[in-house]
């Protein structure tokens, strides 16, 4: 299996087709794997992520747009302006499959357009078009406007809003109006290239090696997805925010900038309450039988809004993290992030950091333009979302992300980040393996490189004691390797609540014709993860960066079920490097040889 890519040089206004050969595809699969391979081979270390030298890669994978369940996804890969390391984000919706229907597996953008442009891809053709009249507009108006311009209501989009244009470091790329490739500031890279959006439309169909065998594997997978109460009941009924209560009851729901893990009114923002209040209907990404998405509406002022979400992460980042339990304000802020193109996790975490700085008297009042960023103030989160996207007033400082903001005000320890990326919605003081996952994540503070919440809280694929550290290193590595494969195929990680690595292998082989064993699948994941590590090693990340914020390592949890606990990292980290074949955060020569990376 080969992949067909477009290489678009925005400076020279050239568009070329190129192939990823069969051997490279087998080694790195597609999606995140091929993206990091291209970035590693083509990017000079030390370049400015917002300069024309950076590349912005949109990738689908062999599974995208096929019968593989939950395959309506794509991956964006670049050098992150927020972290200076690997920048990447995965996203659902319809855009990924549409790109394959249009005849391409991925796009590499390089250089910088002289003035705003968009790329229009349709059934094997691609052209750059003027986007000047859309520059400054929100995501939703841009999509509607270009659809009209192209006289095609079926076009799909992945693009930026004002946040990306204004190089906000936590800017997202938004597709299909409400799905966000949110993390690591990929939207700012798109903005730095004067690229507003990528419009795609296609009528083709991705080829698979053995359609009959694929049908049989899909049938088996679907039976498992239907049998799982998580993928068949809790996710479709309550959405991802069904987690709010169990995480809060476990005492690991980060509250007021991780000052505690218990938010007494968390249930007011839970999936159950969303279902009873703002939910209009559930929604699925392309080809997904699970349908965890929410279409939502707040009917009345002051937070009237129509849109989607909130998800578990946004319910938290715009909620408990800022001490806010007003679901209507959270839903409104979520929609502003979608419309203007902001990553709500990094944005909410940066606001929480600002709130703590403010309450500690470290941000002078005159900086704030009349805003009162106190924990629990719902107006502040809504107002700051606008101001951040347009870099207006204090929004200009939220646009820096938590690390730079806290450093600016002399309290770097108040930024809850790893490697510059703000942490998501689980306090690792009470889920030890998950903390190791955060610390060793190549892209920084992230729950989607290794989701140890599955075994440590949910009990999938088996239940592990969240307060123990023994054996967790191997678990984290295995999760990281399997998720590298999910992001490279490209399919939704929620499948793994019901499907094993074996099942993923059985679904992949009939598409690719590879005859993978499960060990081949895991080794390929290991290779992708290790190549990412080589990329960040080159940018000076190593063991010193595989860590957690000092608050989580040193300040015992003040209350609740995990009172007194801190994140225990060092011992697990030694074990982790051992199982990875790394030394001090860097792969050894032997390991690189074993993986075919030397």
């Amino acid at each position: 299996m080969e992949l067909k890519l477009l290489r678009v040089n925005l400076s020279k206004e050239t568009i070329k087709e190129e192939k990823v050969d069969a051997a490279t595809t087998k080694k790195f699969v597609g999606g995140r794997g091929i993206g990091v391979k291209i970035l590693f081979d083509e990017l000079k270390p030390g370049i400015d992520p917002l300069s024309p030298e950076n590349k912005l890669i949109f990738m689908t994978g062999p599974a995208t747009g096929t019968a593989f369940p939950a395959c309506g996804r794509f991956h964006v890969i670049t050098k992150s302006p927020l972290t200076g390391g690997i920048g990447d984000s995965n996203c659902g919706g319809d855009w990924g499959p549409e790109l394959r229907f249009a005849g391409f597996d991925g796009i590499i953008f390089e250089g910088k357009a002289e003035s705003p442009v968009y790329l229009w891809i349709h059934d094997g053709e691609a052209e750059l078009r003027c986007a000047e009249k859309y520059w400054g507009k929100g995501i939703w108006d841009t999509e509607d406007g270009i659809r009209e311009e192209l006289s095609n209501p079926k076009v799909k989009f992945a693009g930026i809003g004002p946040a990306g244009e204004n190089l906000v470091l936590n800017a997202a790329i938004i597709n299909d109006k409400h799905r966000a490739a949110g993390r690591t500031g990929v939207g700012a890279v798109m903005g730095s290239k004067n690229l507003k959006t990528v419009a795609v439309y296609g009528t083709g169909k991705p080829q698979v090696a053995d359609p009959e065998e694929l049908q049989a594997a899909v049938k088996k997978a679907q039976e498992k997805l239907e049998k799982s109460a998580i993928t068949n009941e809790s996710l479709p009924t309550y959405g991802t925010a069904v987690l709010v209560n169990i995480i809060n009851e476990s005492g690991i729901y980060p509250t007021r900038n991780f000052q505690t893990g218990v938010f007494p009114t968390a249930s007011k923002t839970s999936g159950e309450v969303i279902k009873e209040t703002v939910l209009v209907r559930k929604k699925a990404c392309w080809g997904c039988p699970i349908a965890c998405g929410r279409v939502s509406r707040v009917k009345n002022p002051p937070y009237q809004t129509d849109g989607e979400g909130p998800e578990y992460e946004t319910t938290w980042s715009l909620g408990a993290m800022c001490g806010i339990d007003n679901l209507e304000a959270i839903t409104k802020a979520h929609n502003i992030c979608d419309e203007l193109g902001i990553d709500p996790i990094s944005f909410g975490s940066t606001v929480a950091c600002a709130m703590e700085l403010y309450e500690k008297g470290l941000i002078p009042k005159e900086k704030l333009g009349g805003l009162e960023p106190k924990f629990g103030n719902p107006q502040a989160i809504v107002e700051l979302a606008w101001r951040t996207a347009y870099r207006a007033g204090f929004g200009d400082e939220i646009a820096l992300g938590a690390k730079r903001l806290a450093e600016k005000y002399g309290a770097p320890e108040l930024a809850m980040h790893v490697k510059g990326l703000e942490l998501p919605a689980y306090d690792p003081r009470g889920v030890k393996g998950h903390g190791l996952g955060y610390a060793t994540s190549n892209r920084g503070g992230c729950h989607l490189r290794a989701y140890m919440i599955a075994p440590e809280i949910v009990g999938v694929p088996e239940k592990l004691d969240p307060l123990k550290t023994e054996g967790k290193a191997q678990w984290v590595k295995t999760f990281q390797d399997i998720f590298s494969i999910c992001d490279s195929l490209v399919v939704c990680k929620f499948l793994t609540f019901a499907l094993s690595a074996d099942d993923l292998k059985d679904l992949t082989n009939p598409i690719t014709g590879w005859n993978w064993t499960t060990d081949d699948l895991l080794k390929t994941g290991d290779r992708i993860y290790t190549l990412e590590r080589m990329f960040i090693n080159r940018e000076d990340f190593d063991r010193k960066d595989d860590t957690l914020p000092p608050r989580l390592l040193k300040e015992p949890m003040p209350e609740g079920p995990v009172k007194g606990h801190v994140a225990d990292l060092e011992k697990m980290l030694d074990e982790y490097y051992k199982v990875r074949g790394w030394k001090d955060g860097k792969p050894t020569k032997e390991k690189l040889k074993e993986l075919g990376l030397a």
């Binding site: 109460a229 998580i230 809790s234 996710l235 169990i246 009851e249 999936g271 159950e272 929620f494 079920p561």
Partner: protein, 95 residues
């Protein structure tokens, strides 16, 4: 009699008069509390949580006593005392 707080979530919350209840009961273990709830409020609550064949908690259902999963304490024999907070969850996942 000892007082306990019972919180039940998602689909389980719909089986009891309230998702958040305070009960006075002589139950001193989680097993006894589940029997008490089945008798006083709704037998389906117990049927959902306990597998009749094994007598154990159904896969992926979870019971927390004061935030700690009983699987890491004494399972259904986990002791209860006055003021304890017992939470019941059906299978949930997200991310």
């Amino acid at each position: 009699m000892p007082k306990l707080t019972i919180r039940s979530f998602a689909t389980l919350g719909e089986l009891l008069p309230s998702k958040n209840m305070e009960v006075s009961t002589s139950a001193t273990t989680v097993q006894q509390l589940i029997d008490f709830i089945a008798k006083e409020y709704n037998p389906r609550f117990k049927e959902q949580i306990i597998d009749p064949k094994t007598g154990k908690v159904h896969g992926l259902y979870k019971i927390f006593v004061n935030g700690r999963d009983i699987d890491f304490v004494d399972r259904l024999e986990t002791k209860l005392k006055d003021g304890d907070n017992v939470a019941f969850f059906p299978p949930v996942g997200g991310g």
